[in-house]
Amino acid sequence: MTRALTSLWLRIAIRSGRLFAPLLVAATLLAFIHSGGVGPARATYATAAALVFPVQVWLAQQSVSAVPTETRRVLLVAIRSRRLLLVGVLASAVAASLVVAAASLVWPWLAGSVAVTANAAFGRDLLFAFVVVLVLVPPATVLGVLTSEVAIGDRATSAIVGTVAVVATLVLGFQPALAWLAPPLVGLARLGGATTPTAPHLAVVVVHSVLWTVVVGAISHRALARRW
């Protein structure tokens, strides 16, 4: 059921053309970031992940809001569960976001902007790249859902609230005492610049991301349940 719903939702979202602009911006950003020659893998990936984060929020906003209200009601009655509907909608938003995440991982290789070496350090950097790129997908998705047109009420307010949320993510990220209130965007960017990010450092970031996603996901669920 959820797979059928996710597939239908994604199909409607893709064909609505709403995902085109964020995907184009993501491609432009990645092309720009990786056009400056060869650099250290960790810093390159961390910068790309941080810059692509707002686009992933935008993508989730568009994906969630792509299905017209009455069609969404028909789907809700068809699937018989608000929770399943939310799971399907989140899954479609994550799927859209994973396209950008995959592009973020592959692009540096295609553009030749990371120095490929056959040593253990490079392997660690590659693992770091995977974590950096994938760990931001869930918080970007729930932030997009929370600030989406469906949850907020109209498109203009959704755009404003989404922009404010991304700016707040950066501002809070730079305040050590308040950084836990925002997704671990700045923390990850800092790890990219660190000489040797250790496993505990990465684990802290992953746990931060998971907890933040759970809390904001629950808030998003309440916001959508009220509107749906």
Binding site: M1, A4, L5, S7, L8, R11, I12, R15, S16, V67, P68, T69, E70, T71, R72, R73, V74, L75, L76, V77, A78, I79, R80, R82, A225, W228
Partner: protein, 250 residues
């Protein structure tokens, strides 16, 4: 199925659209929902279908297989056939079952299969809306202004589909701004929505003002199905003159 003390408001500080609604909806019952524009008919239908949750009160006994046709289906960039089949798949049906549920309805409504919904005429969009609802609503059908935008042939097809659904025991709730439903089917009950409340009018043939407005039909059914058919006809408000009894029973 029962609505008990159901109240609904769109925002906390706004007055309720519906207040303390008490309704019963037994199987094989056709209900017409009437009321002026903005009275809350569509809201009531969304609550009955489960597309909205009541602010307070509860709705119990809603069957599992519900079909819901809103007043206007949002236009999406999918073909009519693709849309209705995929909606049936979200109910958890296999592709074969989904096709089997949808195919006869596509044929009956003569729905063009490859027209994109964002380019479809009002009639095609409405037929698509009805096909998806009829394919899903085996136990409860909730239709908001279903005759709007339909030509005479499609109205007849819809009336036949509703009559068949009622025979199968489906509860049918239809918002009908005009009197199309009354012209096509015997309506047992009307829910009139006004001023946030819902009043129930049960219509029977005794409401007809003179005998000249009544027509007597003879119905032949298998003996084993006689009682079930008689009770279905009575639930529709018809008088059943059972030859096994001395007097007509309403």
């Amino acid at each position: 199925m029962r609505l008990s003390g159901v109240t609904f408001r769109y925002a906390r500080r706004r007055p309720p659209v519906l207040s303390q609604v008490e309704l019963d909806l037994p199987p094989a019952r056709l209900v017409r929902v009437s009321g002026i524009n903005g009275a809350g008919k569509s809201t009531l239908l969304r609550l009955v279908a489960g597309a909205r949750l009541p602010t307070s009160g509860e709705i119990t006994g809603r069957p599992a297989d519900v079909g819901f046709a809103p007043e206007r289906l949002g236009p999406v960039r999918l073909s009519t056939e693709d849309f209705v089949t995929r909606i049936a798949l979200t109910r958890g049906r296999s592709p074969e079952d989904a096709t089997a549920a949808v195919e006869p309805l596509l044929e009956a409504f003569a729905l063009p299969r490859d027209v994109r919904l964002d380019e479809a005429s009002k009639g095609t969009l409405q037929k698509t809306n009805l096909v998806q609802a009829l394919a899903l609503g085996r136990e409860l059908l909730v239709l908001d202004e279903p005759f709007s935008g339909l030509d005479a042939a499609a109205r007849g097809t819809l009336a036949e589909a509703l009559a068949a659904a009622l025979r199968a025991g489906t509860r049918v709730v239809v918002a009908d701004h005009g009197s199309t439903l009354l012209d096509l089917l015997p309506v047992a009950e009307t829910w009139h929505v006004a001023d946030g409340t819902v009043s129930v009018e049960r219509l029977t043939v005794e409401d007809a003002t003179s005998a000249s407005e009544l027509t007597e039909l003879r119905v032949r059914v298998e003996t084993s199905k006689a009682d079930a058919t008689a009770s279905l006809l009575r639930s529709l408000g018809l008088v059943v003159n059972d030859p096994r009894a001395d007097e007509p029973r309403a």
